[in-house]
Symmetry: C2
Subunit: 190 residues, 2 copies
Amino acid sequence: MAPRREQEIFSATLGLLAEKGYEGLTVEGVAERSGVNKTTIYRWWPSKAALLAAALIEADVLTLDPPDTGSLRGDLEALVGQVAALLTRPPAADVAVAALGAAVHHPELADVARRFFADRLAREERVFERAGRRGELADGADPMMIMDLLGGAVWLRVVFRGLPVDEGFAAEAVRTVLGGVSPERPRDLD
Amino acid sequence: MAPRREQEIFSATLGLLAEKGYEGLTVEGVAERSGVNKTTIYRWWPSKAALLAAALIEADVLTLDPPDTGSLRGDLEALVGQVAALLTRPPAADVAVAALGAAVHHPELADVARRFFADRLAREERVFERAGRRGELADGADPMMIMDLLGGAVWLRVVFRGLPVDEGFAAEAVRTVLGGVSPERPRDLD
């Protein structure tokens, strides 16, 4: 399938998800909105969940461009900013919050969420490889743990506490994870 | 209202939420299941959202008993374990995941989620007050940030990645937040 047509299908899929929720998302609806025949869509993606998984991972709107600022601190602050934007700025926020909310309620979407986060971690790992080469990471530091702490904090702050996440939050979250909160060591490396 | 009767209403509210979702939760249903008159329920809680907020914050099933192990590390590991249990062990997990999932989709529940997390943080703050008195916290360390990093990581790992969260996870998450991942300082304080 031509990449441009594929993006049109993904865009229709995510638009319908954001507007109508997972219950209201149908392959018929995607066919109608994208102007692509329903049987063509089914030939590429055998189910609604498969189509949604592909759209979440490959749609341009949710693409993660791993930052390369020259320092682990800068890269992590940029990643926190990307997660915050994903959860707060339309149209990505409507899609991301609808998809992640749906994953909680629909067991058949659990695998979609898993694949989405595995894909993002694979991209984010470049940040940690570069940091490792620059000697900025302690031995045994775990990229998944670092991203779960930072990404989870953004989710909790934005979605559950309803509080804003700004550059000050990103700097403080990253400072905490890089330096820790124990007094035995100075917290700020700058 | 008698505390025991109140707990019966809360239990009916959370049970219906877990079984039928927020859409399927009605004050009629709560009245039927708890055997308490509908008008009595409305006299105490003027809306479905108000009833759910009270149930989430005051029901015994979700009560948070802040740990007091004698060290910040021990207390934080216990708190991570409590959050993990809340999100994985029935019946609390069915309630918590349904409530938090619903908060994503229903703007009128945003305030309920905010109150739930504010209430929990107020309880958790005792852990940080004791740690501060013991000299275990760096100046300026922010309890809300620490809890959002740790609680968010559990949420992301359990709900979105579908991965288990065990004692090893709790220890590693707490070690990361206490000691940081920068190599300038040894990671393990033990």
